[in-house]
């Protein structure tokens, strides 16, 4: 199962990324565990300085951008 993490301190952009990610996983029929990482110390561990960021299986895929559903799909496959 894919582990997806959304890094962000709770700004509106982070929520949009979360929703888009859920939509992308659903559209692909991927079983994924999606979790939010909101604690700043934990976010920094990923080496990310701009939020929101998308992390798939521990790997940072994008930072500082709200990806759309299609862009997220590419990172999930």
């Amino acid at each position: 199962m894919l582990k997806i993490q959304i890094l962000g301190t709770g700004c509106p952009k982070c929520k949009t990324l979360m929703a888009n990610t859920e939509a992308a996983a659903k559209a692909l029929g991927i079983e994924a565990q999606i979790e939010k990482v909101e604690k700043i110390q934990d976010i920094m561990k990923f080496g990310v300085m701009t939020t929101p960021a998308l992390v798939v299986d521990g790997q940072v895929k994008s930072a500082g951008k709200v990806l759309n559903v299609d862009e997220i799909k590419k990172h999930l496959t």
Partner: protein, 339 residues
């Protein structure tokens, strides 16, 4: 570079069309006002209408072009790259560099905390980090385009110069004050992980980033721009000049500190503040006072203080706001005296 070459003819053609349309805005606005609507030349209403139908498309076109260009430039500057450039830089040169990089590095104030931590834990001096934090929101392309489009290149250049000086000097002073111990303790204990190799975008991606910036920024600010120009049009046609001169003119020494004190807690982006700037300037307020007000609103705000409080102890936060606010007042005064 080859790939970039493929887009060059398109870029030139696009620019040419843009330029032709831009050049024909003035005659079209005059034709609309006087021929189509049949208004009397010289009447208050006609002057206001012509101003509005000329300025609105003009400023929106400028905004679109510059935001697109800056969007592409920004695809070359990630915050991670800026951090590496600034890491370990000496104080004064670092402050200058940070202020300049603040203009081109994509950054949103909601990322202020992770960015601050990322900078100070990897060897960017505290003062240099502050230079970046001041310059990045204050000196931005939207503010510059709007000032250029509505008040001319001189005002835009003055704003940019003033903004950079404030960012450089206030950051340098912050560095001299040696306030590292007033950063929240956990900040320096935080370990910045390794995000892995950065993806370098190719040209189609850069152009897409430029278009995204246009969609995002122009989509967000166009309404404010129209309101600003509408206010300007109203003043242009009707309001007697020098209406504000007694309160915010050069003669009133207390107007600069008052404008800054009112502006500091307020929160707005560059576009939102433009209608107010338009109204104040049109009514005879002094330029230095108005630009100081605009800078105070954009650079400092209560929400930003709350965000930064997570990483700064109260004393450092207060000193930061104080130094920047005094810097803004100083250039506001200086400017009023010089003009």
């Amino acid at each position: 570079m080859n790939k970039a070459g493929k887009y060059l003819p398109w870029g030139i053609a696009g620019l040419a069309i843009w330029w032709l349309v831009y050049r024909s805005l003035a005659p079209v606005a005059a034709w609309l006002t006087y021929s189509l609507l049949g208004m009397t030349p010289g009447s208050h209403l006609a002057v206001a209408v012509e101003f509005f139908v000329f300025e609105s498309p003009k400023v929106l076109m400028l905004l679109t072009l510059i935001v697109f260009g800056v969007g592409i430039i920004r695809s070359f500057f990630t915050p991670e790259r800026t951090r590496r450039i600034l890491s370990g830089k000496s104080e004064f040169a670092g402050n200058v560099l940070a202020a300049l990089l603040g203009i081109v590095t994509p950054f949103c104030s909601c990322s202020a905390v992770p960015l601050f931590i990322g900078f100070v834990t990897t060897g960017v001096p505290l003062g240099v980090t502050f230079s970046f934090l001041v310059s990045s929101p204050m000196v931005n392309e939207v503010a510059l385009v709007l000032l250029f489009g509505l008040f001319g290149w001189k005002v835009a250049a003055i704003y940019m110069g003033m903004g950079l000086v404030i960012a450089i000097v206030s950051g340098w002073i912050m560095g001299r004050l040696r306030m590292e111990k007033h950063v929240e303790d956990w900040v320096y204990e935080t370990k910045l992980g390794d995000a892995g190799p950065e993806e370098v975008p190719d040209w189609p991606e850069r152009i897409r980033l430029g278009l995204d910036a246009v969609k995002d920024i122009v989509g967000r600010v166009w309404l404010y721009v129209l309101i600003g120009i509408g206010v300007g049009a109203g003043i242009h046609g009707y309001v007697p000049e020098n209406f504000m001169a007694s309160i915010m003119g050069k003669g009133a020494w207390w107007s600069v500190p008052l404008a800054v004190l009112i502006g500091v807690p307020m929160y707005s982006n560059a576009a939102g503040i433009i209608p107010i700037v338009q109204a104040l300037l049109g009514k005879g307020a002094a330029l230095g006072t108005v630009l100081a007000f605009m800078m105070a609103v954009i650079a400092l705000s209560l929400p930003e203080a709350i965000i930064l409080r997570k990483v700064l102890k109260p004393r450092l936060l207060a000193v930061f706001f104080g130094v920047v606010a005094i810097g803004i007042m100083a250039v506001g005064y200086l400017f009023n005296i010089m003009m």
